[in-house]
């Protein structure tokens, strides 16, 4: 046992007595929110060691997990990468489905607003292989009541006409084909003139005299004179006007999105359709991209009309 020098005995005794009384006080004093003071002191004294222990344990565990226990990480990474790829594909499919749903909703809306007009929804399943012609192939044919020279439209405007019909498919000549076209008229001046394809994305309006006033942006609709399209189906909007001899050279931007057709409507009769006026204005705006595959629209079939 360590001997305490006599001159320090009283000091040691003082320290001991004071400490004993401090502990006695701590046992009795109760802090409102922390309990008895002795408990506060005990926790205060112990918590640094507990904190240090927890910190050390976390560090050791972290080192173990991040440096030693990595056998399965590579496999998990590979599995996650595969899952990520498949999820990307799924997202792309869902986006495509969403775009398709929007498109079909538009078609259905158009169809339901013209219930009295017999028309048939069709899906574009192919396009012309070369650049010399502008045609598309649809998944409706003779069996569905499709006949030659039936008008094909979208809710945006005129598309073209049926030129070949097989049992289950039909070929549509677009307005933009060099042999394509439609009887048309300027909506404001009511000047009638055929619109023909140029083999390019734009249409050309022929036989408008230099004296006739035509404005850029003026809308052009079908006139019904070609015996194929009913009247007042949007054809396009005037994009450019050049004076010529003896007729103006007028270029039109097609109302329908002819370069990205996916779903179309085949008119089974030449009954007139009403297009909203603002739709014509929208059709002259640049079109949104859409790469989704087309699906069939549940449009009720009607008996094929007689050929005009």
């Amino acid at each position: 046992m360590v001997a305490i020098p006599s001159r320090h005995k009283s000091l040691t005794l003082l320290a001991g007595v004071l400490l004993a009384q401090l502990l006695l006080l701590a046992v009795q004093i109760k802090r409102d929110s922390h309990g008895r003071l002795i408990r506060v002191w005990a926790i205060t004294a112990v918590s640094p060691f507990e904190r240090a222990g927890a910190f050390s344990f976390d560090k050791v565990r972290g080192v173990w997990r991040h440096y030693f226990a990595l056998q399965t990480t590579s496999r998990e990474n590979e599995a996650l990468r595969i899952e990520n790829d498949s999820l990307k594909v799924a997202i792309a499919q869902l986006q495509s489905k969403a775009a398709e749903a929007d498109r079909l909703a538009e078609l259905l809306s158009f169809r339901s607003s013209h219930k009295d007009v017999p028309m048939l929804g069709a899906r574009v399943i192919g396009a012309s292989a070369g650049t010399a012609s502008r045609t598309v192939e649809i998944d409706r044919g003779e069996r569905d009541g499709i006949r030659r020279d039936m008008a094909v439209i979208t809710p945006d405007g005129a598309v073209g006409k049926v030129i070949e019909v097989s049992r289950d498919n039909a070929q549509v000549l677009l307005l933009t084909d060099k042999d394509g076209g439609a009887g048309a008229m300027l909506i404001e001046s009511r000047i009638q003139s055929p619109v023909v394809g140029t083999g390019e994305p734009l249409l050309s309006m022929k036989y408008v005299a230099n004296d006739d006033k035509v404005n850029v942006g003026e809308r052009v609709v079908t006139s019904g004179m070609d015996k194929i399209f009913p009247r007042d189906i949007p054809v396009g909007a005037v994009l450019e006007i050049k004076p010529g001899t003896p007729f103006k050279t007028i270029l039109l931007r097609p109302a329908a999105k002819l370069d990205r057709l996916e779903d179309v409507l085949v008119l089974l009769s030449r009954q007139a359709l009403e297009f909203p006026r603002d739709l014509n204005a929208q059709s002259s705006e640049p079109n949104a991209n859409s790469t989704a595959p087309a699906t069939e629209v549940s449009v009720p079939k009607s008996p094929a009309p007689e050929k005009p």
């Binding site: 000091l11 005794l13 003082l14 009384q21 006695l24 006080l25």
Partner: protein, 177 residues
Amino acid sequence: MNDTYELRSGDTHIEVHRFFPGAVAGVAIVTLILQASFPVYIPKLDIVDLPLLITVYFGLSRRNPSTGLLLGMVIGLAQDALSGPTVPLGFYGIAKTVIGYLASSIGARLDTEHPAARFSLTAGFFVLHQAILNLILRLLMAQPEPWFNVHLAIAAGVNAVLGTFLYIALDRLRRSS
């Protein structure tokens, strides 16, 4: 414990006093009873701390730090016990333990028989005693009190005056050499 003897510290000769048997215990008990009683009848006398005066007196007289701190502890704890449930045991005990130790230590080095020295020391010990109590209140009990005010100064003076006369009376309990 019944004789007076001299404590030699260098060239200084300081008397260590002895008291009649039971004098210390008897005085302490009477003082505690008085301390617990007279504020009931004379409330203004609550500024007087008789147990402190007794602790200081016996510390200065006995001049043994161990005895002084133990006596201070006992008197202080007894005062705590008589002070009701709001005063925790050890509150006065700690303060009077320190005072008993310091009084004994100072008494062993200085001659504290002169009334002026007794007056000064008593006033100083009273202030120190209150400072220790205030420290306990602040640190342990979260009850901050002002460190100094006029009331404390008056109380220190009153206790010092009373102590000076009380010590003369208590000197009669000393055994003659």
